[in-house]
Amino acid sequence: MTRATVIDVLYLVAATTFLIALKGLGSPRRARQGNVVAAIGMAIAVGATFFYQSTPGHSLGNIGLMMLGMVIGTVVAVPAARLVQMTAMPQLVAIFNGVGGGAAALVSITELIAQRSEGAHPAIYVSIEVLLGVLIGTVSFSGSAIAYAKLQELMTGRPVTYPAQQVINALFGVAALASMVLVVSTGNTLWLWVLLAIAAVLGVAFVLPIGGADVPVLISLLNSFTGLAVAASGFTLHSTVLIVAGTLVGASGILLTRLMSKAMGRSLANVLFSAFGSATPSATGAGGAAERPVRSGTPDDIGVLLAYAEKVAIIPGYGLAVAQAQHTVRELADELEKRGVEVFYAIHPVAGRMPGHMNVLLAEANVPYEKLLEMDEANSELSTCDVALVVGANDTVNPAAVDDSTSPIFGMPIIHADLASNVVFLKRSMRPGFAGIENELLYNPKTILLFGDAKDTLTKLVASVTAH
C-alpha cells in the first residue's frame, strides 16, 4: 500500500467513527461513548494528516507553526469548555460553531489565493465550491458571534428590527451572489474581499431579527451551515473525510433544527423571519399590566400548601438554570416525598434555552430519570395535581398559546399548569419571559406568586416544608 492509500484508509476509519458517534448520540445510554469514539476518530484523522502529501513526495511544511496553532487552540478551548457554567453552554456551543465556520471560510479563501498566485485557471465549478465555502462559513461565523452576544446578554435578546428588513436582507443575499459571479468572471481577487464583507454583514443581518428564545434553533441551523461550509472545503481540497463529516452535520443539523422548531409548535420559516416576540403586546397585555392585581404569598403559605398536597408537579424553566437551583429543587422534592407527596417534573421540550437543557441540569442534581415527564405525559397528569410549582418558567406555561390567536406564541404546545388545583410561580419579577409576552396565568385567581431568586425562594420553601 502506498502512503496515500494508508492515509485515505485512516480517513475512512475517521469518517466511520463520526457516523457511529452520531448514531450513539441518539441514545442516552451510548451517547457519551459515541462522543469519545468521534474524538478518537478525529485524533486519527489529524494524526494521519501530518503525513499527508498533496502530490507524491511533496510533504506538508510549516509543521512547527501547525503544532503551535493547535497548542494555542487547545490551551484556550479546554478551560473555556471545562469551567463555563452549565447555564452558559448554549453560547459556548455558538462560539465553537462560529470558529469552525471561520476556519472553513479561511481554508477556502487561502485555497483561492493560492490558486490565483500560481496563475492557475481552475474550472468554474472549483471556484464555485471555494466561494460557497467562503460565503457559508463567514455567515456562520458572524451569525454565531451575534447569537453569542444575544445569549450572553451583551446586547438585547429581543429581535432587532428595522423597516423593510426582509427586503434589505434579500438584497444582501443578491449582492453576495453578484460578487461571487464577479470573482468567477473577472478573476479579480478584490471581489473576494467584497464577498467576504457582504457575507459577514449577511450573517449579522440574518440573526438580528431573531428573538432570544429562538436563538437555540438558530444555533442549530448555523451548526448545519458550518457543516455545509466544511463539505464545500472538502470539495475544494478533494478530501472525502471533510465531505462526509461536513455533509453529515449539515444534513442532520437541518433535520435537528426542524425538530426543534416543531417542539415550539412553529415552522422553521416562522422562527427565522417573523421577528418573534417583537410584536407589541396584545391589548390585554398593554392595558396597564403593572396595575392588575396578583396574589403573592409568603414562603410559609406555600410551604404549607406543598406539604399537605398529595401530588405536586414541578415545572422548571430558565430561571432555575440561572439561579443554579437544580440541587435545591431536588432537596425540596426529596423533602416532599419523605412526607408521602408524589412529585414529578414536567419538562417542556424547549424549557431553558436549549432543548434538553432542563434534563441536563436536573440530571446533574441526580434527579431520577423516571421522574422527568415529557410534555404530553405531564399534561395528562396535571389535572390530578394539587399544586403546579412553576420554577422560573413562563412562556412554556402561558395559556395565551392556546386561547389567544393574536399572541405571537399562539400554537406553541405548552405545559398546562392551569389544570392543577393551585399554581405557584417562583419568579424574579413581573417581567415577562424571554419571548416578551404577558402571561395571563399570573393573574389567575388560583395562582400564588413568590418573588425572588429561585435558589433563595426554594431554600425557604424547603425550610418551611420541613418545619410543618
Partner: protein
Amino acid sequence: MGSGLLAYITVFVLAIFVGVEIVAKVPSILHTPLMSGSNAIHGVILVGSMIILGNATTPAERVLGFLAVILATLNVVGGFVVTDRMLEMFKSKNDRKGGQK
C-alpha cells in the same frame, strides 16, 4: 467535469441521506448534546486547515492557514469537551440504574 468530481458528489448525496436518517429518532432530551456533538465533528475542518497551512508558500497564506488551524482546533477540542461535560450528567444516572439491578 471529471469523474473525480462525480465521485465526490456521490459521496455528498449519500451522506445527506445518512445524516437525515441517523438523527430521525433522537429523543428531544438529547437534542442539545447531539447539536454539540455534531458541532465537534465539523471541527474536522482542522484537517483542511492543516493541509492549507502545510502547503502555504507566501506569508499571507501562512497567516491565514495558521489562523484557520487555531480556529479549527478551538472548534474540535472545545466541541468534544463541552459535549462530554453535558453527557457526563447522563452517565451518573445510568450508573445508578445499573447499580440497582
